[in-house]
Subunit: 219 residues, 2 copies
């Protein structure tokens, strides 16, 4: 019994840049929802609505795709986060508080976000390209936090030295990272409003700035 060739399914040609992004975002969705071990070439291409071979047309290897998806994800997150603190309305302290609230609330927190994040972190020690993406995205985030912190401190007539500011940024970054992680991984134990309160109070004590009653109740 000879095998009859399969009927070829119809398809649309997409702009290469758009297709690349679709494939990267399909990768992120599969890892976030079903984990990194389920993120096979076949599962990702199926999620994107294409056949597995197409991935090899856009990416030299699966490793390349995952790394590009990581970089894409970080760029999108960075853009969304900086848009929030770019709005010049309100005082610098209020912008800092808003930054903290956003960092510790959905959609930044969430079980799927931490699953995605952990999948990438697991690779950075072993794959240089992943490590590079991590280094750059992490530095960008830290610089952004440092800018907001500096503005808030200057506003309060406190001019820190660069060493003080760098250390303070690391500390605030750490407490936000840690709270984000705990709240995302244990949403029942540490719900959103509780973790936001803890985050505001913690950064308040670390910086000496009054952040606790800055909520903009008249939006």
């Amino acid at each position: 019994m000879t095998k009859a060739p399969e009927k070829r399914r119809s398809y649309r040609r997409e702009h290469p840049d758009k297709r690349r992004v679709e494939l990267m975002e399909a990768t992120l969705r599969v890892i976030a929802s079903r984990g990194v071990e389920a993120a096979s070439v076949r599962a990702i291409s199926s999620e994107a609505g294409v056949t597995p071979g197409l991935i090899r047309h856009y990416f030299a290897s699966k490793e390349d795709l995952v790394c590009a998806a990581y970089a894409h994800h970080m760029t999108v997150m960075q853009r969304a986060s900086s848009k929030a603190s770019d709005t010049e309305r309100g005082s610098a302290v209020e912008r800092l508080a808003e930054f903290i609230r956003r960092t510790l609330s959905p959609p930044v927190t969430g079980a799927q976000e931490v699953q995605l994040w952990a999948a990438f972190i697991e690779k950075i020690g072993r794959e240089p390209a992943m490590r590079q993406v991590h280094l750059e995205s992490y530095r960008d985030f830290r610089l952004q936090l440092e800018t907001v912190l500096r503005a808030a401190l200057l506003e309060a007539d406190h001019t820190p030295s660069q060493i003080e500011l760098t250390r303070l940024t690391f500390a605030c970054n750490a407490v936000l990272d840690g709270l984000w992680l705990e709240s995302s991984a244990l949403p029942d134990i540490l719900p959103t409003d509780e973790v936001v309160q803890i985050g505001l109070q913690s950064v308040s004590r670390l910086t000496g700035l009054p952040l606790l009653n800055t909520r903009n109740d008249t939006p």
Copy 2:
């Protein structure tokens, strides 16, 4: 050409409990050094010096083995950590400072440790057994930190309410988690002595306790 049966290699019978532990620790070593995707049944059994079939004799599935290895790892870490703060020598504040130093120095920090940790975290949202291990080990760690914090605060004549203490524990836990992560993933940017200083200063500001010059210089 018929295949000749392989010569059977000699072996030693081990006590079942010991063999179980060996297999779990081999799992941890493989994940820590080569990543979770390299941790196949064959790689793990090879690391343990046995043949793949033996894993099925001790564990119902690979998933079971990984989960047991996670629980084992957390138990060992917990035991090592609590041994450090159980020593009654020194004031409570000094014990808290020592706790922070240990948490932010090798061998607790390290690229392999964070790789191992991330591999487990990636699974807790999807596998109930892994989630359970995470919940319990995390609660244990937090209770231990809470105990040290309470003692240090009482020693400084500060008696916090339970709600205050719980929140403070979450905050200190978060900053230690975040600093541990940053220092482990970016050892070049945040070396050990720097991160220890930041950790001491941060917990000092969060709690109001004087931790900065508590180093026991005469060990």
